[in-house]
Symmetry: C2
């Protein structure tokens, strides 16, 4: 075989490994998106069995993270990539960590859903479904931005994090008002407060991923932006 031919095979094998990492990452992303949307649905529908499914499913997400982590370590050890491929793989290792935590947040929301389902039905969930909708979009878009190296999309996701923070501020105020009005609301309102803080955390995690995307694509560091100052400190 010519040297050139051997180099080509080497190149193809590189791509095959990265393709596998990409594929498994996409799968993890889909699992996490599903967990978040199911957790919110279980909350809206007071559906304890769906909530249980989310809680049980978290283990599969954890295993998928470990699987990708191992693929990345193997790739680094065997292929010793440089420049772009090195940045890609180390970024994947960070992103899977964020995704796994998003899964944990979905699990926490599902636990609150189970708890609230044991209490008398209450009021509409104020802005929580709206906050969840934006958050779910952010999760989808941050993975898209990573896969497509789309800096503009990454910037848009980061921008939306402010919306989520504003919504959380509103929800916080509303729930506090509910508690003050009627002590019977306190337990359920505190539970919804935790739900909103988990959604806010998921949005933050999507923002972290986008900040990494921008760094990979443009070298610009936009991480650790200043949090907007809400009237009520969250």
């Amino acid at each position: 075989m010519s040297l050139e031919g051997s180099a080509k095979i080497h190149q193809r094998s590189f791509e095959k490994d990265l393709d596998e990492i990409n594929r498994e990452l996409t799968l993890l992303g889909e699992m996490v998106e599903k967990a978040i949307s199911s957790a919110i649905l279980s909350l809206k529908d007071r559906n304890s069995s769906l909530a249980k499914e989310v809680i049980r499913g978290d283990r599969v997400i954890d295993e998928q993270e470990l699987k990708i982590d191992k693929l990345c370590i193997k790739y680094l050890a065997l292929k010793q990539p440089k420049a772009q491929d090195l940045r890609f793989v180390t970024s994947v290792m960070k992103i899977i960590n964020e995704l796994e935590r998003m899964g944990d947040c979905a699990e926490s929301i599902a636990r609150q859903a189970m708890f609230l389902a044991t209490k008398p039905a209450w009021r509409p969930l104020i802005n929580i479904p709206k906050m969840a909708e934006i958050t779910e979009e952010m999760v989808r878009d941050c993975l898209d931005a990573f896969m497509k190296h789309d800096e503009l999309l990454a910037q848009q996701v980061i921008k939306r994090d402010e919306e989520v923070d504003q919504l959380q501020g509103l929800i916080y105020k509303n729930l506090l008002q509910d508690m003050i009005q009627d002590v019977n609301n306190i337990e359920r309102a505190s539970s919804l407060l935790l739900v909103s803080s988990k959604l806010e955390r998921i949005a933050d995690q999507a923002t972290n991923i986008c900040e990494d995307v921008i760094y990979i694509v443009s070298g610009k560091i936009v991480r650790h932006k200043d949090k907007i100052q809400l009237e009520i400190p969250l």
Copy 2:
């Protein structure tokens, strides 16, 4: 120069790079420990200027994380380490991420401290100082366990996470009780609820680091253990 001599120089240069990473990591750890203890002190003493210091200091923590991240990427690119060194460096990249987030949590606690300082003084902080004390020890010990490859210490830290979770359960119940007793407590109790959830998150992050330590030292996967089930889902 003999080949052997050249190999020795190569080896020494490896160690120098890893030493630098180690040193910078230790520094980051110290910054984060300081941020957490100052945040809690600002809460206990109703000291807004100390709280402001913690908030301003978060930027330095963020910069330190980025500095170490770059050192690690450079090391991977230039030295193409294998086996233990590879695992060490990729672990450092994860750990600095955890530490940076602990810093964010400290900042959030400081924001709550500032908010609470604007309100009339209230009651003792129930179990929050105790929870903070354990959490601070966990942070110190998880870094020690990492530096010394001490599996036993790592296991002890993980064990303490249960204590923190139990304390948070108690705090949650107490604060809910306070809110029910007097609506004037609701705003302040909600703020302390957020403080306790940040402490719980820091303890979780220390646990994550220890789970990594155990993996590095023994190859055992203890990540993603089942969370103990609290009466009130958190």
